[in-house]
């Protein structure tokens, strides 16, 4: 399983690399558009001063045996849920991956939407499904804020649970490096508002896809590490047990020989000074 995971990491990393240009480009386009008045008025930029209802989208694995991978995400989500509830906010969950979904379902947490069976090979359609499950709720005001919890793939040896606010988009776009005096006047086709209606969901889909791909690579890396530890541990156990078994066998043989020799000696001494060796012949079958 260690080797299977290792080969899957390569594939997962390739998927991240393939999606990266798209995600980077769509971020750029959104950043270019974010300053326009149409963008400011778009429902996805709607900021509620004191959000009361929060949706948390989290990404876990479908399968276990991945060390602390699922537990780390679940713990982070639980902490967020606790904090939001303490602040009087209502929380709903959007779960990706069987492990996390089952965990929260078993604890009777409200799950708005769940997606199972794609954690190892997320596709764009999967990300689209997730976005389309939560965005309408935000647009009509049933949810005021959407957060995304996933595991960022930093390197083979290091993955970190990451929490991001997905919508409202404000903070996100303001983080983009501003280009002073470089405001471009675009020609739009169709109208800017209509472009934004199409572009912003696509952008969110790209962001969710990126999070799912990062998580998939992290899952495999965590699994590889867990399975390597398990293999090493099993090797160590086998070594210890083999030594114990050999020692026990040796003990048994030694004891048996001692008994035979002791018995033979006792019989020889009791053999009434028999010197012709007939006694030895008699004992032989026992040995």
């Amino acid at each position: 399983m260690e080797l299977i995971a290792a080969s899957r990491i390569v594939r997962a990393q390739q998927a991240i690399a393939a999606a990266r240009p798209y995600v980077a480009r769509i971020r750029e386009v959104v950043a270019h558009l974010a300053d326009s008045p149409e963008a400011r008025n778009h429902p996805l930029f709607r900021v509620v001063d004191s959000p009361e209802r929060v949706a948390i989208v989290f990404v876990t694995a479908d399968r276990g045996l991945a060390g602390g991978y699922n537990a780390n995400v679940i713990r982070t989500v639980e902490r967020l849920v606790r904090d939001h509830r303490a602040a009087g906010r209502e929380v709903q969950l959007v779960g990706l991956g069987r492990k996390g979904v089952n965990y929260f379902r078993f604890r009777r947490q409200p799950i708005l939407f769940s997606l199972i069976g794609v954690s190892e090979r997320p596709r764009y359609e999967d990300a689209r499904q997730v976005v389309q499950s939560v965005i309408p709720a935000f647009e009509v005001g049933e949810v005021d804020q959407i957060e995304l919890v996933f595991t960022q793939f930093l390197s083979l040896g290091s993955q970190a649970v990451n929490v991001r606010q997905l919508v409202p988009l404000v903070g996100e776009v303001d983080d983009q490096p501003a280009e002073p005096g470089h405001k471009t006047d675009y020609e739009f086709e169709p109208e800017p508002a209509e472009i934004l209606d199409r572009l912003l969901p696509s952008w969110l889909e790209a962001e969710v896809l990126a999070a799912m791909l990062e998580s998939a690579a992290s899952e495999q890396a965590a699994r590889q590490r867990a399975m390597k530890a398990a293999t090493d541990n099993a090797d160590e156990l086998i070594k210890t047990y083999r030594r114990q078994m050999n020692r026990a066998r040796q003990d048994a043989i030694t004891t048996e020989i001692m008994e035979i020799v002791g018995g033979a000696e006792a019989l020889r001494q009791a053999g009434l000074g028999d010197q012709d060796g007939s006694a030895r012949e008699t004992y032989q079958p026992i040995a």
Partner: protein
Amino acid sequence: MGTTHFELVSPSATLFSGQAEMIVCKAVDGEIAFLADHMPYIGALDPSAVRILGAEGSGVEEVRFAVHGGFVEVKDNQVIMLADVAEAPGQIDVAQAERDEQEASQRSGGPEPDKAAEIELKWAQARLDVARGA
């Protein structure tokens, strides 16, 4: 004639990245072509065939791709196309596209306008155009 930098990216791959003389695509309001130094433009794409003319280093007059939908941004002599799904001629399953075309044209031919079927029909036709034209 000058060239412009063109990039076609989808979530699963970068399909094209390089200099080209002209890019022709279909925005929602009609066909549009980009030459070098086109003015800044942002458009939404219809499912259609994208044609890249005079692509440097390609050795052919015209390179085609089928795009399912997405956006095109033009700025600083760069044309960036973001497609949610895009296929090169070699990736297209012609038999499947033909089946999709038939199925979608039947559904869109009904009395009720069926937007999803129309999009599917356009997508099937775009794939067939690209696969046959190449």
